[in-house]
Point group: D2
Chain length 400, copies 4
């Protein structure tokens, strides 16, 4: 059988030192399904609380120095952003990608940049360019765009016209960018629109990104694919086309379930990391890709789930670092299928937990981040602090 | 080619006279996705408003004399049900099936009848038996049970244990039934639980219904199936097993999209009706099946969407009434595939709209129910009346 | 409700006069599944027989003047093509698109243009350029490329390398084209490769076509999509991008089932036609798109199934011709969802069979093509003629 | 975090000693897709060759003492079965389950036990009872029934009638069984039938098995499920219902791809084993379930792929043996989701390869079965021996 790969320890350590993954502020707040929300008594509400929670995850894992923020939820009032930013206490984390919201307001019922009404398109555009400006204030490199635009019934939307409106809008957003900023365009085949979504797959996202301008890239959310679709192949194509900008990581089983990374199909997450690391090994340079978490753990305790996620991501990335590329490519060239496959599997099935413990120790981090977090008493503390809030009907929060 | 079937006018008229479909009270209220709700200014809030709207649909279509109610939403206080019932003004419609809710309260985070905590199981059971008692007060034949019980992550739930708890709970609910009542058990493969749902498919629902007792049947929600699954075959099997109790009609494209009936795949809805009508023709007696609508038209105007749905259901049922059974069975027996298929298709592609106009005229109904409703001014009236309400954050309604 | 569209008779007639759909030679031969073939005693074996059968379909339907041919199966010996062509008796049909085969020979086990072995890639390229040359001999405008290249197991194929090989190969094929020829590139998400297919979706096909050269376009096979994917939206995008080259029509329920067009979801086929006709109405010019049938009706009698298909295609195209575009666009612009949707549905549910009978009569065609074909005695004749052949084990045909 | 489970070494060894998996004779012969077969020069053709190859797999892995046989392919002439059996040289393996074939002959075009023609139904029944008799001669406990019966187009088959024919036929087969024999009934949602399959899911298989008689059970083929379906939950339900008879193991990504076990989603195969082992731990007795391989590795070398499969199955079974049940159940009861999940994951991510090497050594088996097989020279030997055969067109084999 394939000889177990001699652990390329140096490569592994280099990769782990490099590996960073951004946490989403909304991952610390209560979320739910259309059937309701089950409350987590430790859930954050304010942006400061979300940053505090994220800082904890970073404190114990050492690889999440930035936090993605959501414009409407975290900065409801764009006029007073400067005051908000000044008042924030950042405990070792920084503001990361900026995520505008052009789907929640009632005006977006029939779309945002693709709304048939030009005044709504203008309003969406304004929010997007405001978000770019916010990104300048926070020194954020990435503006992540997800559009809910779509339709529920055949005949109700004009596909080509809406595509043209998207091109026009995205070009205008792109014009506002600073040279070092990147526009990430996300795709999603369905939900909340059920018949058609304007940016439904990676092909549409890529074409729109090309039309938008040279600083636009595609954002892959792992949960936004059809059943059976080969995500790692899409990764490879976007790398080839120099259009891969970043990831929203999560897992799913049926639709866009927003489950914690690697919880349903860990082998697939491993293969995605492998595809990126192989590209970097072959080209000799790091791919510039933003790794971000985007999960909605309805039932798990937020902070704990986030630590579990980050640890899982590190483990799968570490496993992917162990692939013996020389052997792999030789087996592929020779049509030695079982050997090629086993080269991947040997790496996946290597138990990297001891290696990660070593790496953590060497960085002054606790061997078991979740255990250390649990022993810290943080959770109990915030549950007590945050208990002062009352929940209204349907989950509206009010302060006593 | 197959001779177009001589329209069996008598059969068509008999079928149309028989055809009734129940409207859901919640179909007149604002609903949405997990990303939010877009408001319909005419949406109903109170049970009385929902009944008023349903009465309008019945007024113009003549085939929806009953309204399904939802216990938590329509009867939040079971203690005062009698007063509520007395105060209701029923304009030609009656209360139909009773739908308990054991998923919305925070206590159901880990399940209802399958919750590992016996006190929560008891609480769910109490709600269910209370709902049966409510059904007695409203003379409702059907108690429709949908359970959200499930889990999001491998390893977190004990499948067999939870199944045993379901059997025990359902048997106790069944014991409370009056002899003429029916317990309908619904299945759903996913959502809101993403890894496993305790009653995931028709097989599980059938086995639980048999365990529950002789008055339990399976409820088919057309949207609750896997992609590619043959729903009409499930209908046929449940008919053979004498276990088909009713339908929740809607349409879908990807997941459980709750779109209006026949909007995505009208041919499939037609085939479901065909399977039932063929069974009735062969056995010489009506199958006792409750036809109910269960849709969540996020974007369409509620009352108009419901009229559209009912008219579509009637049209597809009328088309299914036109199938030439003698020819069909002979073709099937002889392996004459194209002829058998065309026998179905000829019926489906027959334009039944003129026949339905005739039938409506003969019953004193408007030829075009939607047009008549629009001309009535009802919508404008309720928009004005219902505009007095203010919407709080996240959609909480308050009255001025 | 929406007023039934005043039948735009002139437009309908113009569209029907224009509508042509190409038949595949392989659709008249025995085909099957991986579990075996069930024999049709009337199935064609030789190219002449296939052309004869196709001519029959054209004789009775009047809209299939060309026949797609398959290079390996119809022209096993490219050296003697001229003799073959001279010997053919064409009864009113001409040779249409040329379909090379680079998947059947044993050498293609690990791919054709993406094979790691350069000598196999060269062999595939030779077959493809030979096929272009054949197309010149037959005056065929279209060369349709479908590649089975892919892999069955993670790790066994190098996605980016294989993509680069595809680009190189397709460019060389493109260089051989005459100016008026078109290269059609087909995509398919799975089968016969099960883990990855090199050209898996429309995005990959579009990018490869752009890389190949200005005469390359994308070919849509309706069965080659993920469950739930919106094909008509892909059609619209390819029209916008000026990259839609043609269609392989068929229907499916689960995978790539190659069922007869419109047999499972006729409304979807209608919407595809609608998207094209709307584009043409808006731009004022015909889109240059090759309509082709690609079905593998395992159980139906070949010629009859083909007539059924062509008649269905005409009916759905005729229905799509009835859409009231002015109304549709106004409703779309105004967010009048139900009205927009009903504008489409009214057209779909209009019974066009009488209109088609009229059109056929006016063209000297039989009102009911299948009935006319059945009465002609052709089927009985060929069954007798073709019965002289013996079938070997596993379906190999030999002549007595 | 969850403490890594103290390896329950004794349980692991007991489980490994118990673990046996049956090999399919057809897994050593050339197979393919509907697009053709790529040849493996070492592929077996005769039953003797298949048994020889299977014996090799057993020789190096020590856990595959039996071989499933296929009646038509391995015993084309049931009349001379006794002679065939006497002539076989069994090198340490025995004949295992008997698999009848009622789908390959032309007569089964419209079905076998559900064929509208009573004479075909009788013929199928005869083949099935002959197969039971063969099973008696080979002392085979299991008769595995897979039916391809179904239809390709709506309207062409009578669901309820066909179900009734199945009940009647299966009862007659059941009557022929010896008391210790078991009838396994397999389900499959699609292929080769594309519109409906008569035994489409586990619910249908269970109901038919109950109707057939007390010795009938359900057979799960892991590839025969809808996308997203939770197979381990089906396993749990069948265990609860005492109706789980056996498995056909393989893996898939899209349809029924027949890939090697654990090659696409190893975590899922692990969870299936876990569900069984948990049941056995709780009930204190072994579940009587036949583990069988059913793969069609088109491109891998047959014997090597089979060794890879068996080793993978052992590894995943060993991993599942490491789950800490006491902890798991306590976490499940307490709603400690992350801890429960991690209990499963810790076992899955434990590297069991060293443990398996130990176990193999203790049994006198080579540490690395695939390496040992490769070094044995068997493959080269049979390639030389089997090279004397010529392949006809379309893959028909003939002997020189």
């Amino acid at each position: 059988m394939v000889t177990a790969p001699k652990v390329p320890e140096e490569r592994l350590e280099r990769n782990l030192n490099f590996f960073e993954i951004e946490l989403p502020s909304w991952g610390f707040a209560d979320t739910g399904t259309r059937f309701g929300k089950y409350r987590d008594p430790s859930a954050a509400i304010t942006l400061q609380e979300k940053l505090d929670d994220a800082a904890q995850v970073n404190l114990y894992t050492g690889c999440c120095p930035s936090v993605a923020v959501h414009v409407l939820w975290d900065f409801p009032n764009l006029a007073s952003v400067n005051d908000t930013l000044k008042s924030l206490k950042l405990s070792g984390v920084r503001i990361g990608s900026i995520n505008p919201n052009v789907f929640q307001d009632q005006c977006y019922k029939f779309g945002s940049l693709a709304n048939p009404d030009p005044s709504i398109r203008a309003r969406a555009l304004k929010h997007l360019t405001d978000s770019v400006n916010l990104a300048k204030l926070t020194n954020s490199r990435y503006i992540s765009l997800w559009f809910a635009d779509g339709s529920n019934y055949p005949g109700t939307a004009h596909f080509r016209q809406r595509r043209a409106w998207f091109v026009a809008g995205l070009q205008q957003v792109h014009e506002c960018l600073d040279p070092e900023q990147r526009l990430l365009i996300e795709y999603k085949p369905f939900e909340p629109a059920f018949y058609h979504t304007d940016i439904a797959d990676w092909g549409m996202a890529l074409l729109l990104a090309r039309d938008a301008g040279p600083q636009a890239r595609v954002l892959i959310d792992t949960g936004h694919h059809y059943a059976g679709q080969n995500i790692e192949q899409v990764v490879a194509w976007l790398l080839s086309e120099k259009m891969l900008g970043g990831f929203h990581f999560n897992d799913r089983r049926y639709a866009d379930d927003d489950l914690t990374l690697g919880s349903i199909d860990p082998y697939q997450a491993f293969r995605i990391f492998h595809e990126i690391l192989l590209f970097e090994w072959e080209t000799g340079s790091k791919a510039e890709i933003a790794f971000m978490v985007d999960q909605s753990h309805n039932l798990k305790i937020k902070t704990e789930a986030m630590i579990q996620t980050v640890v899982t991501a590190q483990e799968l990335y570490a496993k992917a670092s162990l692939v013996n590329y020389e052997a792999l490519l030789e087996y592929q060239r020779g049509g030695r299928l079982i050997d090629a496959e086993e080269t991947l599997r040997q790496a996946f099935f290597t138990d990297v937990r001891p290696l990660l413990e070593e790496w953590r120790t060497s960085r002054g981090l606790p061997k078991d981040p979740l255990k250390a977090f649990r022993e810290s008493g943080y959770l109990e503390k915030v549950i007590k602090e945050r208990a002062g809030r009352h929940f209204g009907k349907d989950g509206e929060e009010t302060y006593a």
